[in-house]
Symmetry: D2
Subunit: 306 residues, 4 copies
């Protein structure tokens, strides 16, 4: 289980990194919407930028569209894995790479997927497509990210993480559900589901723990003119519900765990073995993560706004 996101605009994804394709079914898309496929392809292109595998990422649509207009029935699409090279992973058979999901998948499923399987970042291509559809259903919402890779470090023989800041404008007040359906809670789940995500904070976030309450509580401007409050420490959400200010949050991504240097892997039989795992220095890791952050933000919001 665990391959669906959302209840009103429900995306169910599938596909292994080195299988025939990755894809999804979207249930809940309204009828009669003209989809801009160039926008979808643009987002896919942004996600691929500098990607290790140069997939062409052509989206094939199987359902839910007629002449580019949604039918109200499920949207189904897939992207072929034209560049799947399971043989590149032959030397890693029976080995658990450090920091990867090899060991945990093995413990859960009794086997280890080739090339990361569902744990690979390849899977996020599908989310980007779904997110690009969702954004077209909310034209008034603006989702903007700023990638902050750790670029002070220029050592070529290693990998680095970073932070993605996201600012969402155009979310009206009143979006979110109390208690477990809080908008911030759902955003947190959405962001932490992205590969390599390791932290999430709304507004001022962890730094707010060092503030006094008299500083933290955002002071009113009065109802008009906007903005509503003088500061936005809470990130636009109070009690789990949007207040009409921009929704602002940050997502921390740990360094890529496939490093250029050889690493000690754990063999299924218990011994340690040093091998090269094919990682490489990649400046654009966080830029690509930002595209997925945008997509997941859209998938989160659309479930409240349909």
């Amino acid at each position: 289980m665990g391959n669906s996101f959302g209840d009103r605009f429900r995306v169910t994804t599938y596909g292994e990194s080195h299988g025939p394709a990755v894809g999804a079914v979207i249930d809940g898309c309204p009828a009669g919407v003209a989809i801009d496929m160039d926008f979808v392809q643009l987002q896919l292109g942004r996600r691929r930028f500098g990607a290790p595998r140069q997939e062409e990422d052509v989206v094939e649509w199987l359902s839910g569209l007629e002449n580019g207009i949604t039918l109200g029935t499920p949207l189904a699409f897939h992207i072929r894995n034209k560049d799947a090279r399971p043989e590149d992973y032959a030397h890693l058979a029976h080995l658990f790479r450090p920091g990867h999901a090899d060991y945990t998948y093995y413990m859960k499923y009794g086997h280890q997927p080739t090339g990361g399987g569902r744990a690979s970042a390849r899977e996020t291509a599908v989310r980007v497509v779904a997110g690009a559809i969702a954004r077209q259903l909310m034209p008034e919402v603006g989702i903007n990210t700023e990638a902050e890779p750790t670029l002070s470090v220029t050592e070529e023989n290693d990998t680095y993480g970073g932070i993605v800041k996201c600012r969402v404008t155009g979310v009206p007040a009143g979006i979110g559900e109390p208690i477990f359906g809080k908008l911030n809670a759902q955003l947190a789940a959405a962001m932490m589901s992205i590969p390599s995500a390791i932290g999430f904070e709304m507004g001022t976030g962890f730094a707010a723990t060092r503030m006094k309450g008299s500083e933290y509580a955002d002071k009113w401007n009065g109802l008009s003119p906007h903005p509503l409050t003088q500061t936005n420490h809470c990130g636009g959400i109070q009690g789990g519900i949007s207040n009409g200010m921009p929704v602002e949050f940050r997502v921390a991504f740990h360094p890529v765990v496939s490093t250029p240097q050889p690493v000690e892997c754990l063999h299924e039989d218990g011994h340690l073995q040093t091998v090269g795992i094919g990682g490489r220095h990649d400046r654009y890791h966080i830029d690509r993560a930002a595209v997925v952050v945008e997509a997941m933000t859209a998938l989160c919001l659309i479930n409240y706004m349909l």
Copy 2:
């Protein structure tokens, strides 16, 4: 919607802060389990410690138990709000306090709940009861928290936030579902649903963004003897699935937004009005939050472990 948590051990909560009671129904509890009610009451007592309202917090059980043994049918309970004092809030009618959910609830529901309604921390008493039941279904799991309130600040006329560190032992490898059901994603949602939560991080968290990949990826110890890895930067979860190491995360809580000083509230008609909102300096804010963190951790895990 949004008042249910979990799919296999589903808790549905109800109750306004100043209504007759708060309570919940738990669907999915196995039959034949003897419940230790002293443990439940102990957790409720920990949550109340220093609480502004001195509820007795007596749990009344209406369903699902016979002679203290679960029947397999829904567990239902409530806690009466014996100390509800809606009149304490009369001077706040039509006023939106800064930092509270007054305005957002008003925008969503068209009315403003007395004394915070569902947005009040009162609601968390119910989660503590449900979490105390869940923990008894997983006796091998240990959930320990450390509260780090911002106590360097001793100014009595203000409020402060802090951080709760949580360490969970006894979670076997293989717990979690790929993609959207990742254990870290569900933990994030669970924690961010707690009132005042404003940040979440697994393991090394935001600090990991400043590490090299060669440092970050936890090195193997070999399968035995335990521990599995030399460090635990990932917080015990890889690819959304537990690896058998302790599950470790931190939750940031912003300062209490009811401060002792008078504050400028926004009136429904748009003008600003300065009033006292009855906040007080409270050293135990974060200690109480820690009890709810423990409860939500249990509610999160039980859905994977049943």
Copy 3:
């Protein structure tokens, strides 16, 4: 699990027949609706008519209402079982009555609930309350039943079943979801969840299997004046979606399985034992079932119409 119905107006029920109370939580009720409690009590009274246990059936509300107006938060209520008499069932300990759920509950849960537990018709009181709330959210919908008990049989020393015909007016065209969310499929599930229900048919139902297609397919009248079609063999639903004609269906109820004569029960140790189980001739079995049919119809429709 299995104690919730609906996704947009979700009712979660609890309570054993001979426990302290039966009750429910309703998540998804809109804010700002004035609830007519006399109507709720009227429906409860109709359900009790001739009931073996003379509960007063007073509904206590714990959440979601202020001055009789819904808050948008969960509605929670319970009805105390003032007349619970577990001692009446002492002679049935360890015995599985024929036709009852005693044996199946025992096989599922490892114990046998006193007096039927959740399998008792007592549980339907809660559905009647929830249905009475749902109906007030759809004032344009009329739900009418006709009870057809098998009253040609007047033998006082036995029990009988019957049929409930239901006719729903005011359902606009376009209600229902294709494939698994078909309105007729959800109605079928709703009706078959009622104790003693053993058959369900839409419109002409089983008799339609003996018709020619040229007779069965309802002929158009033209779009105006109404009715839309000359006949209503399909019961107002085509492809799982309402067509604006009355929604019509019938539900078959088997005879009450607690009969006045002594019966052979199966003892847990495997021997058969003849005992009296306290059944009685009751002319109003089907009339009461009709009230529950109405409630479940409302609970079914509201999930499409909110």
Copy 4:
């Protein structure tokens, strides 16, 4: 919405009758199961028997399998619509055929799908594939149907309905969830979701309404030797939970609504127009329905038995 079935073995289907393909994603299939694809193809072949459109029905698998063994990740597959002929339906543009879902889809979605779209029986091919997978996860369960088409009627210029009897052996006692998750309720929903289904009854069904309680309540045989009861009027389910007897039910199917004779269609502009709609006499309508009944039975049971 409405395109998913099940919570533990969740099938989400997609595809229009005259679009590129029909397909599904199955979430919840365990890892390590060898799938017999010949069995899948056999069931697909049974469903096609005598089908108006001679699709080859080749299943393409995109996810969840490696060397024919399940990975534990989502199974995804589609079947191309090689024989789609939307032009066959050109003369029906803007016309609502009697008895079809043309009008209701139009009212719901604002457009009318070509050739029935999702309402076409073509969609059931996908369910047959999913059901054939589910059956392989329950080798001890036997699902057998008997088709009873109305073949006393031999008039070639019309269409007929019939009844499918289903008998399921090997279901252990204790399968089902009380109240809304009753096995009979879920079977009812599953069966009524099949195109043309118009009635459902468990065991003795509607005929039970004419029995006395003393006849209806199945008499015990004692725990051994089997069978458990002397008769099976209840169809193997009591209180929504299986008792270990065969699960028996019947599904009524109304006549095919595409008849050979020309019929009066309703035009979008309100006038009536007589056209031929291409129906034909087909003896095997009910035989094919029986294959879908078997598939849906498997999909229903697997959600309780995983």
